[in-house]
Symmetry: C2
Subunit: 189 residues, 2 copies
């Protein structure tokens, strides 16, 4: 394998500051071959968690709501931004509770992923949460009006295969969760 | 199911114009319950394709290169931005040829996904391309120095399960491709 070298950032200029939601930077970068690019864009957005919850009967919990980035009503696993200084797993447990009213028996990490390989734009931290039981009423506190829907594993698998979920994070999280659920080290109620 | 209504966009203001790579808008939106949000951010970035190529021997092709958004050397399927007025499948075929030097016997759509459910930021169009054969030398024309690596299906499955791929689009595309490759309607060489 060739020795692939990182780019060098020579200068960073803040183009737009919409803290805490977005910061856009223009970077002057030097490539390994010596070429210089004057205006390579880098975006900072807050990291978020997405949790695939499973309850008794092998049902997967999804949030159904209008998403403005999609421009339509969509279904997705519970998700939310990480608060400053909040541990990622604490965010995941908090968002699961707020959005579905559930607590989980067991948590499985499905990895953490950069949203854009070119621009950055934060990371998504994906989880599978099994043995979910509702302990309170959902209280999401989000802008979106929403409902919780529990679908069978088979229905989620079919919709995922058919490309029926509209968001990239949903496609990634459901694939990894369905794969993990098929592995032998997980006890399902 | 409740009748979930879309948000109404009352006013749109362009905050940052870095065409063709990025446009950032602030939108004044009205929620179904009458509340008004004055500065909801929407991002426009170009759509892109990502192709999971499979060649004889059930090997999957990946590009290994430094990605500035990740800040590290990473592996991902071939991918690229859609040119203005270019058909998506033509982009996919062009990018596969440029990045790996391959042509494919059969193409399978794995769906198209919005990058951010909140902000938009464009769509990724995912494909599986089987029966790939190299016909020319790769000539990616990208900023990144890169190499093509062919890994066995099993190794890709293991790395994907272990969360070893760093980018969200890679996690989504590989999951959907591995799932599709396990289905009975695909003839693999």
């Amino acid at each position: 394998m060739p020795d692939l070298k990182p780019w060098k950032t020579l200068h960073t200029k803040l183009l737009l500051d919409c803290t805490p939601w977005l910061r856009v930077y223009s970077e002057k970068v030097e490539l390994p071959d010596g070429r210089v690019v004057n205006d390579y864009l880098r975006l900072e957005q807050p990291d978020f968690v997405m949790i695939v919850p499973v309850r008794s009967g092998c049902e997967i919990g999804l949030i159904r709501c209008y998403k403005h980035g999609v421009g339509a009503v969509d279904m997705q696993p519970p998700a939310g931004y990480i608060e400053p200084d909040e541990d990622v797993i604490i965010t995941a447990q908090r968002e699961l509770l707020e959005e579905t009213g559930c607590q989980a028996e067991a948590w499985f990490e499905l990895g953490s992923y950069v949203i854009s390989g070119n621009r950055g734009t934060g990371r998504a931290h994906l989880y599978l949460a099994t043995g979910c039981q509702q302990v309170v009423e959902p209280d999401p506190g989000d802008l979106e009006e929403q409902e919780v829907i529990w679908l069978s594993l088979e229905e989620v698998q079919q919709r995922w295969t058919d490309g029926k979920f509209s968001q990239m994070a949903t496609a990634a999280a459901l694939g990894l969760a369905l794969n993990r659920l098929g592995m032998k080290d997980i006890d399902l109620p």
